[in-house]
Assembly symmetry: none
Homo-oligomer: 206 residues x 2
DNA sequence: TAGTCAATCCCCCTTTCGGGGTATTTTATC
DNA sequence: GATAAAATACCCCGAAAGGGGGATTGACTA
């Protein structure tokens, strides 16, 4: 009996490609392309393990992992992401996510990771431990616009509808600090209005 | 004789997955995972068409396309990217890149795009043209939220980044009139902030 | 003809944004 | 130990957004 696996990634080609690659090893019980569909599909298909992208439309991987941990505590969760940012790793561990694999892994590494997690182990890609911040590992947009991690974090919170005051409270920062970050973001992106920032964030799945 | 195709993408899983997906249709003569290897491999394998990621290590897709156009002018170049940034599309067209496909396409769209390019056509994903829904598709919103035509018109203008003053000028209305419309929209949608309106507009393709 | 509703406009007010500075501390890197 | 980058924080100011109230006109209609 092959383990039941669910793939959640909004890039159809990637999602489909991974399915092809590992369908000999696992029973692919579903494919999801939007964050808002994940919980429903999980409820219906009851997978043993879910390969979860972090940058999903509607609901991001972290929020989904939080919900999944509440409602389906036996399901193994593995992040399959391109991001190597330490704070992502940290957050994943805090959320008790079982594994963290990188999109530039090989098929063999992917299968090894999934099997390890199914065996009850935690599996975080070794590359995550030997992180040297080399420029070409960063997201292209971060490089293009020189956005810092903090700035990206704040962009996400703005996108989620929070105002400057709320962001300051949540991050335990002063109001003026967040304002400064906002100003720097606007300058770097050469924009001047909230709507333009929203458009940028949504265009680029930030 | 199947067309000779080269895949250049640093995400091993994606690269491998795409190969699996389309190896029935094309002769995959090579896979590259780093920008600095592309020109060498192209010289050796002489593909008819190359699927090129934009965000590659060492050398990015644009620089590679520029070089490829100089040295191998008959090779068809197709960007396969997650980015929908207009400036990327612009730059691609300027570089005479033959196609631009998105990673959230289906297998069928991918093959259609490649075949079109091989037939000598240009193929830029239709999603890139940001098609505006026709004004006659508003019935749903009118019924669901009792939004009037004027209100929908103003929602669109807000979404496009215009502020209240600009909208008033463009519609030859008083500032207070547009403010009233905004208040009514917020009331009908049970929202209170611009970001929520943007989210609504994008969720519902307004 | 009385009632409803979309569209127009005006007053009040507070909060938030956006843009112009400047400055300190922390962290990473050389 | 020097330097650079990131993150933190503050000042001032005008513009814009948001929320409360009310009012008029015209069109359609029950």
């Amino acid at each position: 009996m092959k383990p039941r696996l669910l793939i959640a990634d909004d890039h159809t080609l990637f999602n489909e490609g991974v399915k092809q690659l590992i369908s000999d090893h696992y029973n692919i019980v579903g494919q999801v392309f939007d964050g808002k569909d994940v919980l429903t599909i999980v409820m219906v298909t009851r997978p043993d393990v879910i390969l979860l992208d972090i940058n999903l439309p509607s609901i991001n991987g972290f929020d989904l992992a939080t919900e999944l941990r509440k409602s389906f505590e036996t399901i193994k969760i593995i992040f399959l992401s391109m991001y190597t940012e330490p704070r992502f790793i940290e957050q994943s561990k805090q959320l008790k996510v079982d594994g963290y694999l990188l999109k530039n892994s090989t098929k063999e590494e992917l299968i090894l990771g999934i099997d390890s997690v199914l065996n009850g182990e935690n599996y975080y890609d070794q590359k995550l431990n030997q992180l040297r911040p080399s420029p070409h590992q960063d997201d292209f947009f971060v490089k293009q616009f020189s956005l810092t991690p903090r700035e990206i974090e704040i962009i996400r919170m703005i996108k989620d509808g929070m105002n400057t005051t709320e962001i300051a409270e949540k991050l335990f920062l002063g109001l003026e600090t967040v304002k400064t970050h906002r100003k720097n973001i606007y300058f770097k992106l050469s924009i001047s209005k909230l709507t333009e920032l929203l458009k940028f964030a949504l265009d680029n799945n930030i």
